[in-house]
Each structure stands twice: as C-alpha cells, then as structure tokens.
Amino acid sequence: MSDITGGFVAMMARVWHRFALPADDAEPLAGMLAPMDDAGELVAEALRFDMEPSDFDRALEELAPPADET
C-alpha cells in the first residue's frame, strides 16, 4: 500500500518544485495519488527491457484495418 501522505506531498512541492502548496490541496492530492501509486507499482511488472513509448505509434498503424476494409 502506498505511504503517500499530505505532509509528503507538501514537502515534495517545497523541495522539488520550490513553492508552497495551497493549504487545502495537500490532503486531497495525497488521496488522489495513493491509488495511482499502487496501480503504477502493479503495472510496472509488465515492462520489458526493450520496450519504449514510440512502440505505441507503430502499433496504431499496424492494427489499423486494411485500406480495402475502410
């Protein structure tokens, strides 16, 4: 389970992004981030060594129906 908290988010804003997070934002952001963090951990196991983002564009072209079907 993710350990992301409002305090952690506020510190990240201050240290990494060099601004003070509006007071009301830290806890809601932590609540949004935690499930994403867990999902990210889960799906990352599917990564293979030689994959890269541009593979998606090639897949779009390859998976299109043949021209005579459109």
């Binding site: 992004h17 060099r18 990210g40 799906v43 998606f56 299109a64």
Partner: protein, 473 residues
C-alpha cells in the same frame, strides 16, 4: 426564412449555400441572432465575433456568385471551443491566466475549415484549460444544458455541445483527452467524434496532454461529423506526430450497409452500474442494429481498471509540465478543482510517467486482440448516467461530487489511453428529458466504419431530430 435555416443540418445547409439557394450572409445573421438570444440562458459563447463572421460570409457569397466552388462547408456557421488558436484573435482556453492571450498562429484544423468555406463565429465556453468532464467554469460562468439549464452540459467542450444541441451553430470543434468531446455530446444530445490519436493535427491547439489530446467535431448528425472530419483529418507538416495514413471518405461511408457488420457488446465494465434508463436505451439500440442485419456478439474486453489509473498518471504529468510555472506563480488564478487536478502531476516520478507511456502499446495490442478479433465495432453507453445537475458537481458538493465526476467519464477515459476512435450518438432520453448516448469504438483509423454504423443507426431512429424546447421558435 431565417427560422427555417435552423432546421437544416450542416450538410443540408452547406449544399444549399453552395448551390446558391441560401446566402451565407443570411445563414450567419440568423445564427448570430440565435446565439445572442440564447446566450443569457446557456452562456455558451466566451467570444462572439459577429462582424468578422458576417464579413467572411459576404466574401463566401461573392465567390459563389462568381461561380467558384468554395468547398464542402460552403458558408456554414460554426464556432469552436476557445482553445483553437487563430492568429490575432484572443483565445482564453477557458482560463483567467490566458484571458488576454492572442496567438500569432492559426490552428491547422481551423485553417482547413476556413479553406473548406466554413464561417467561424468565435470561441465557445469550456472547462478551464480543458480540465473536467462537467463543463462548469469559475471564470466565465457555467455553460448550461439546453435540455434543462439546471443541468450540466458536459465538458470539457461544454459550449460546443450546447450550441449544436440548441441549434445555434451547425457544428463545432472540441478536443478530447479523456472524453471531452464524447461527454458533452452525450449530455447535450448531439453527435461527437473523437478520431484516432494522431488522425487530426494538434498544431495550434492548446495543449493539455500531448499524448492524448485529439480534436474532432460535434454536430447534429453522423454525416455532418463525417464531412467535418474529412476536412480536418490528415497529415500536417506542422504537427510531425500527425499520421501520414490517407483519409478515406468518411462521409462516403455514410450510407453503406450495416448488414453483416459484427457489433461487439462488452460483457464487462462498460455496462456495469448503469442507470436503468441508460440500460434500456442501449438494449433498444442493440435491437435497432440487429433489425438492420448487424451481427451482435458478446465480447470479453480486458480490464480497464489499470488503464484508467495509468492514463491519469500520464495525463497529469504532461499537464503539470505545461502548467508548472503558473502553478508556482499564479496558483490563485486557477479554479481550485482544476488546480488540484493539474498539481497532481507534479508528484509523479519520471519513471512512473514513462511506464504509463511505454505500456500503452502492450495494452492496445491486447485490447485489439481481445475485442477486434471477434467484432468490427464495440457498442457501449457513452456514459453510465445522464447529465447531473450543476449543483451536484459544484466544488461545494463534497466527496460525492468527485465520485460522480469520475463516473461520468468512466467509459471514455480508457479509450483515450488506447488512442482508439470513438463516436458518440444520441440514443434516447430519460423520463426527465435528458439525453442518453451510445458509444461506438473502432480499430485504429477505422473512423469510416464508425460513420457507416452510426449513420445507419440515425437513419433508423429520430433521436437526433429532437430539439430542446428553448431552441424551438
């Protein structure tokens, strides 16, 4: 005559203007009159450029009088989400921060529409920076649903859906990053077409997430949307990411037989937790397709839970990169919900963002193998619910508001991650008179097939011909 002009659809009006039977100036003047009349109720326009539009319409009429073919959108009044840049004209992006922004370039999509003879009436209301599926806006005021102004019009292309539904303009461009064309189309009872990722140039379009942003039309009919898509789609040297694949005739595909087309009905996710009236409307839509000879098949699609979460990671990281400077320097100039949704991207590790991007290919191949090996098109509800009341989705509405917002976009978000084309078509109304819509999802670049199926549905039904009471003369 001016009252009758509103009854034409886009193709019908363009053909009459092109043939010299109706003047572009008359059509534009009537459109401006409708826009001004309904603005106090709908708040659909951020900027209405009446004089500029009338001058452009007169030029179209002069060219037609000289025997010139001015294009497939001859003299048709359109208006667009206020995030398509036009050189020298303000483009607010629905924001306070860009309220005075005047671009020095024109978006390729707008330039292509103008070259096809269309008239541009101005910038339409939208969710701030295209963030949010509801269509509310703290800076310019909420846009309202023409079927019931107490209800949300859907976002983020709120004004695009509302103006087309209210029979003000004949079509509008919107942008879709997770549902922002399809959701307002569904809530406002019009057609909305999100093409395949990279099918339409993004040059001159305000960025939210360069990986998912897609622009497309909102119109009264599928054929109207097809005609606009035929104009705006195709490679653009100014957007190197735009596909070089030829654009087949989408309008020509309208009218092809749907007999034998395999329509897949997902057995999981899309039909979960539907409003009963939405479920009934989708059942009825399936019967319409079956009566036309389509083959309806149950299809098991992969889980969408992971897709939805990593879509959000990638979108937020890209949006936060674009907005980081303003988040630091002008945080109070954002609406609070929009600021939070963008800030969220500041806390994604670079590795997580790239994981979400890298896995897109894997999920797309798995999805197509599962779904499109057994069917040609998927049929789903565009939304599991109808348009919520605006006060249900206000920031002050609390936790339930967040859940409702997520529910509204649950059937559109995963398709944006996968980059697939999707067409939203009106398919009924609930007892309160609010629209219900179906979503047709196709293989990459199979927009023409979606046009065939969507047009066939509209030929057999009359949902798209119904007009909100406030738009009736």
């Amino acid at each position: 005559m001016s009252d009758q002009l509103a009854t034409f659809d886009l193709c019908g009006l363009a053909d009459k203007i092109g043939a010299g039977e109706v003047s572009a100036e008359d059509a534009t003047a009537a459109t401006i009159a409708r826009a001004e009349k309904l603005q106090p109720t709908l708040n659909a326009f951020i900027r209405l450029e009446a004089d500029t539009a009338l001058a452009a319409a007169r030029r179209i009429d002069q060219r037609i009088a000289q025997g010139e073919d001015v294009g497939p959108l001859a003299g048709v009044p359109l208006a667009h989400k206020d995030m398509f840049y036009r050189a020298g004209m303000p483009t607010s992006c629905g924001s306070k921060i860009r309220a005075d922004f005047v671009p020095d370039t024109t978006s390729t999509a707008l330039a292509r529409l103008a070259n096809a003879g269309a008239i541009d009436l101005g910038g339409l209301n939208m969710s701030e920076f295209a963030v949010g599926p509801i269509g509310n806006n703290v800076h310019y005021g909420d846009c309202h649903n023409p079927w019931n102004p107490e209800h949300a019009p859907g976002g983020s292309s709120s004004g695009s859906g509302a103006t087309v539904a209210a029979r003000i303009v004949y079509g509008a461009l919107g942008s879709d990053t997770g549902g922002s064309i399809r959701i307002p189309s569904a809530m406002s009872g019009v057609v909305g077409f999100k093409p395949t990722q990279n099918r339409v140039s993004r040059y001159g379009l305000m960025p939210l997430s360069f990986s998912f942003d897609t622009s497309g039309p909102l119109t009264r009919t599928v054929r109207d949307a097809a005609r606009i898509l035929d104009v705006i789609a195709g490679h653009d040297p100014k957007d190197p990411t735009s596909s070089r694949r030829p654009v087949p005739g989408n309008e020509a595909a309208c009218g092809k037989a749907v007999k034998g087309v395999r329509i897949g009905v997902p057995t999981s996710y899309f039909y979960d937790d539907l409003d009963t009236e939405v479920a009934a409307a989708l059942d009825a839509a399936q019967r319409v397709f079956a009566e036309q000879g389509a083959e309806l098949l149950p299809v098991e699609v992969p889980s969408h839970d992971e897709i939805n979460l990593i879509w959000a990671v990638a979108l937020a990281a890209e949006a936060a990169t674009i907005h980081r400077k303003w988040l630091r320097e002008r945080p109070d100039d954002y609406g609070p919900m929009v600021r939070r949704r963008i800030e969220f991207g500041l806390y994604q590790p670079a590795t997580r963002y790239l994981e979400a991007q890298t896995l897109r290919e894997k999920y797309l191949r798995e999805y197509c193998a599962a779904a499109f090996a057994v069917c040609d098109v998927l049929l789903t509800p565009t939304m599991p619910v109808t348009a919520p009341r605006l006060d249900e989705v206000d920031v002050s509405a609390g936790k339930g508001m967040t859940e409702l917002v997520m529910k509204v976009s649950r059937n559109t978000r995963p398709i944006s991650y996968l980059g697939l084309p999707a067409l939203s078509v009106p398919c009924g109304f609930n007892k309160a008179g609010l629209p219900i819509a179906l979503q047709l999802i196709g293989r990459p670049f199979a927009e023409a097939q979606l046009c065939t199926v969507g047009h066939a549905y509209q030929q057999a039904t009359d949902w798209h011909t119904r007009v909100p009471a406030l738009a009736q003369n």
